[in-house]
Symmetry: C2
Subunit: 229 residues, 2 copies
Amino acid sequence: MARSARAVAYEVLQRGIASGEYPPGSWLREEDVAAAAGVSRTPVREALHRLQAEGLVQILRNRGAVVVGWTARDLDDIYDLRVLLEGYGVRRAAQARENVDFDGLRAMCTEMELLLPGAAEPELQRIGGLCIDFHVTLNQASQNRQLIAIIPTLLATPFVREAFHHHTHHDLERAFAFHREILEALEEGDGEWAEGVMRAHLRAGRRSLRQMEQEQRTSDVGDPGRASA
Amino acid sequence: MARSARAVAYEVLQRGIASGEYPPGSWLREEDVAAAAGVSRTPVREALHRLQAEGLVQILRNRGAVVVGWTARDLDDIYDLRVLLEGYGVRRAAQARENVDFDGLRAMCTEMELLLPGAAEPELQRIGGLCIDFHVTLNQASQNRQLIAIIPTLLATPFVREAFHHHTHHDLERAFAFHREILEALEEGDGEWAEGVMRAHLRAGRRSLRQMEQEQRTSDVGDPGRASA
DNA sequence: AAACCCCTGATTGGATACAAGCGATGATCT
DNA sequence: AGATCATCGCTTGTATCCAATCAGGGGTTT
């Protein structure tokens, strides 16, 4: 078990934020997080800085880190960028098929499809992870270093990480079909096709999340966390 | 002078990398950098992590940080993304003109234009900084948090930071004209126009940098730094 | 002679100790 | 009473210290 303390702290924070243990607007005190993660403050600080880079927390000088809140606008913003960047990513991937890990990608597709029938919480969690991996792997084939660095950051946002939780069975089936079609387009080397499917896939995903956002909003207490200063 | 030690370390590293003091492939030992910056290792570590996030260095576990090298492909990759993202950014800005800091942007334009005639090294440096500020400010008007976080990272790459150094007088004049035209389009609220100008601006900029890359390549010792593992 | 293994030096990863800064509370003054 | 200012406590920022880990060199073995 050679996991670094920083990785432990990072995961504790990420899970805590995603699960609602650290709700938007709450302060993350280094000492507390360190105790919760069983490490010292040093790796916690590094994890917090990384989370700030990912936009999950905001660090105020000499005051600490606060969990940022997410609005429906943020969801739109993220998906705008995903459409642009991932569309570009698969277009580039289609132009360099030799970089595409078809075997790995197909394996992910298959596993997701097998998990879907009778999808309980743990399976859904696994599907969500696989879906993120799928997109990350896809973009790696673009061979664009900057893009490869940006995509995981975008996919680390709670919206994306928790997306599987808010999709219907039908949504997921459609998403999986899109995944397969993207691979098909890539095998053909048809970048336009691949990009089109990707854009459709992401737009559809955004639509599902938006609907659920609206439903949840009725029983919501407002927007406690969006720090603006 | 309330500058944090981390900021000092970060700037020392960034300057050192840009200036060639730390050439691609060289190792950045925390102790040495700490001594050079006049701080302790702790803030140096944090600065190195930030530079890794920006893609300027690569940190190998238990082995340290190595300066990454940049190839002509990286230049193309970065500008591909800039075209996509900054194009989107100004399009969005045109849809929300009230967020655009026209006064500030115009002031930057004016200062750049005034500095240009008789441009010695320090003036060019200032122009480069202003140009980056101009683009950052522009993208802030998009109000897309993720975009606002990504753009400075892209503009932190040596290619962009040193770009002014490799543009001809004529290149800069053209760039400044593009800047003015972008503002004009934004005032009209014409997102298509603004995006088109931005894309042209960036394509032209890339072209200039590419040419200079090729010229320099003749007297170059190869590619020592592009760490791939 | 070549390959392997252990040992050592150097460097990072992490923990602790100390200093500095911010915010809140409470006293004082108007 | 309201506002202002100083003080105190809590939290972060930085420095230093110790432990873990990797690379390289030298010796041994086959």
